[in-house]
Symmetry: C2
Subunit: 437 residues, 2 copies
């Protein structure tokens, strides 16, 4: 993509309304624009990152055996009256009356909706287990929305739902999601720690939050220091096999979110306990028949008795992850995207567009990178070198390929790795080889 054509409205000033670094950087990098409090438009650069994160989430859900579907944003209130949550949910639920005066709502989550679908369509234990998910916008009418996309009102979430015949089956489904979450975050370059958590308005009695540590984290978390040395779960998983050993490994030591932590009964010695700020990037729940029972969603067992479905739900905050990754990966100059979620892999900087040889060399590199299938953002603007360096550091692409008139004469370009700041003078061919890999 040529920057002269791309819609990338970067800002020179730091927006004063933004309290945390990811919010500031997303506004400055032209990734988002606020529409109203806690509601954002995703401009092309931000949208690009959102889609990369979504794609990783989708691939890992599919790998774990979950099937994608899509439930609507607007739900009938009657569904939530069946579960008893319509009155419980309070003012965070965006309530809507349609033209026929029917009570509707903008879904903050979808347990009722998916339970209704299973109640209507699934009759026999032979149809279980089932694990379904969707990636859909949700709404939570926060009193004081803030922190940009980290705590917005309209937000994109992946939520999966498991249906099993009994507790053992439900635990296997829970383990599938537990393990797939570790894989998902690892692929994004994040170290996420599963922590015992309260179940809150979802309910149930087994729950983990997946937390990444960051100074700017929204909540206090507590974990055994050994988690700081855990290797990310990078290996391929056989989801048909026994996942309990992996879950056991990751839950062997104490780790708890604030609400769950009880200093008086903490089993970890003070010296071994890490107290830190954390950002929640996922939350999984086992809640048995909490919804299936009141809603009468039953399945027939092998000996022909009807029992309510055993269920769990599993959420990943897709739009929040964009902010969370920035909180975990930035410096004073801007964002540092992990390769897997970078909006482009390479930024190509033409330091003097008025110089024909320099521009010809850039055009050639641009064509070769694109031919090799590399996502490249080509800064072909008629701007000074300083502005180009600053913008490129701000938007944080993993590689910068810097081409100036002097280098072109000498047959060299400069290749910079954004994360380390390392720079290297080398031939165009050698630079291409390194970036294309």
């Amino acid at each position: 993509m040529r920057l002269t054509r791309y819609f990338l409205p970067t800002l020179k000033e730091t927006p004063t309304e933004a309290q945390i670094v990811s919010h500031r950087l997303m506004l400055r990098a032209g990734m988002i624009r606020q529409s109203s409090a806690g509601i954002y438009s995703w401009l092309p650069l931000g949208f690009n990152v959102l889609k990369k994160i979504e794609a990783i989430v989708r691939e890992e859900q599919n790998a774990a055996g979950a099937q994608e579907m899509l439930m609507p944003t607007i739900q009938p209130a009657d569904l939530w009256r069946e579960s008893g949550r319509y009155d419980d949910y309070g003012k965070e639920m965006l309530r809507i009356t349609d033209r026929h005066e029917r009570d509707m709502l903008y879904g903050p989550t979808n347990e009722e909706q998916i339970t209704e679908i299973f109640r209507a369509h699934v009759r026999s234990y032979k149809d279980l287990p089932k694990l379904l998910y969707h990636i859909q916008w949700k709404f939570r009418d926060e009193v004081r929305p803030r922190f940009g996309v980290m705590r917005g009102r309209e937000f994109l979430m992946k939520d999966a739902y498991s249906f099993d015949l009994d507790y053992e089956g439900a635990k296997r489904s829970y383990n599938r999601m537990f393990v797939s979450y570790l894989r998902t975050y690892a692929r994004m370059g994040l170290r996420a720690i599963p922590m015992a958590a309260e179940t809150g308005p979802i309910g149930g009695d087994l729950s983990h939050e997946f937390i990444i540590l960051a100074e700017t984290g929204e909540s206090q978390v507590y974990c055994h220091k050994s988690y700081l040395d855990y290797d990310a779960l990078a290996e391929e998983i056989d989801y048909e096999g026994d996942l309990q050993p992996i879950v056991d490994h990751w839950t062997a030591q104490y780790a708890a979110a604030d609400e769950k932590h009880d200093p008086a009964n903490c089993p970890v010695a003070k010296d071994d306990l890490v107290e830190a700020r954390g950002i929640e990037v996922g939350h999984i729940f086992y809640f048995g028949d909490k919804y299936s029972k009141p809603m009468g969603a039953e399945v027939t067992t092998a000996d022909d008795t009807a029992v309510p479905f055993e269920m769990g739900s599993y959420g990943i905050g897709v739009s929040r992850l964009v902010g969370a990754i920035i909180e975990a990966s930035h410096d004073d100059d801007g964002i540092i995207w992990p390769d897997a979620v970078a909006p482009f892999t390479v930024g190509l900087l033409n330091l003097r567009v008025s110089d024909d040889a320099c521009t010809a060399a850039c055009d050639d590199l641009y064509d070769k990178l694109r031919a090799a299938g590399v996502d490249v953002l080509y800064d072909d603007r008629d701007e000074g070198a300083g502005a180009k360096f600053a913008d490129m550091d701000l938007i944080g692409l993993p590689w910068q390929l810097v081409v100036g008139p002097r280098g072109v004469k000498a047959g060299t370009v400069e290749l910079k790795r954004r994360a380390s700041g390392e720079r290297e003078e080398l031939s165009a061919e050698a630079a291409l080889a390194q970036v294309i890999g």
Copy 2:
């Protein structure tokens, strides 16, 4: 995907509430489930088709030089007060009051929102032209929602917006979208005719609807009979070149939607005029400064004067297309998916799962198809052949690969093409070669 694992709740009975064939078939084929009037959940099979259509729309938008972004579903009412449409829009707009008593709405379209973004970020003629699009859920609170996803309340739409300095630029952007729409529908196996149209609540003075002819079409349309012989636009397009000749070719003869057609002034002789029922699958508008002027969205020209943006908007009904394709392509037994949008390419039918040789042959074909990257739905259920044939015809995959115990003994399988009904007995290898292509 093995059918024993897939969530595919097909129905034996025809749902009585569905008035048109696409709605009936989508319910029977387990593609959707109604959540409330005019609002649907997309079950895995339906979701799969929706994603294939969305992918084609996205590829053709990108090819035409449009950049993807994403605007939120919930918009502030104040934006619509600026354009004057808040009061005009009537009861079809879903109006919402948030917890702070602010007036919001669920966007039926996004002209105001994108104009606000350009007003804030784009200052100079040098930043033009720009063409941006998003694929987002919209809401239109229909009095009597019906016809399934063809006229739902919550629906998925691709809407693009063009920003230019002057009329000539705007016309070029209009032509880009005009031509890319013809390509988009052709790729889905649809013959769409561009027809002169009224601009309705979007406004403006140049507009075309893209209409596919179908007996069950919602509106009356009129066109010169020559359009019935036009070849679909299948060739690669150079979007940087002059597109006017293509637009001229496709608008050379008379074609008009009902509201635009005036029998008294129709230039076509009666014998040459086709009167038919049509389904609208796209609508494009040029409307100049209708939004930019009242909203004060201006750009500076080369001679340093400020002028309002020249704009157009361009919609494709993504969720509606799922129904429209079925209306155009089905028979008494079920859906007939065009290859490009089929949820799976092949249905593999194991006619006797209790027969080890038969099941081994099927498993082998299943592995080979997947290894070749072919999307295959494997009916490995313990059901009779009749039920399997009926379900496979109903869901309409392009190819059926039928494996029975007698054939396996003789070294043959049956390959059926859903569209033509043609069947062929051949070796497993020959069948694979034909399907993999």
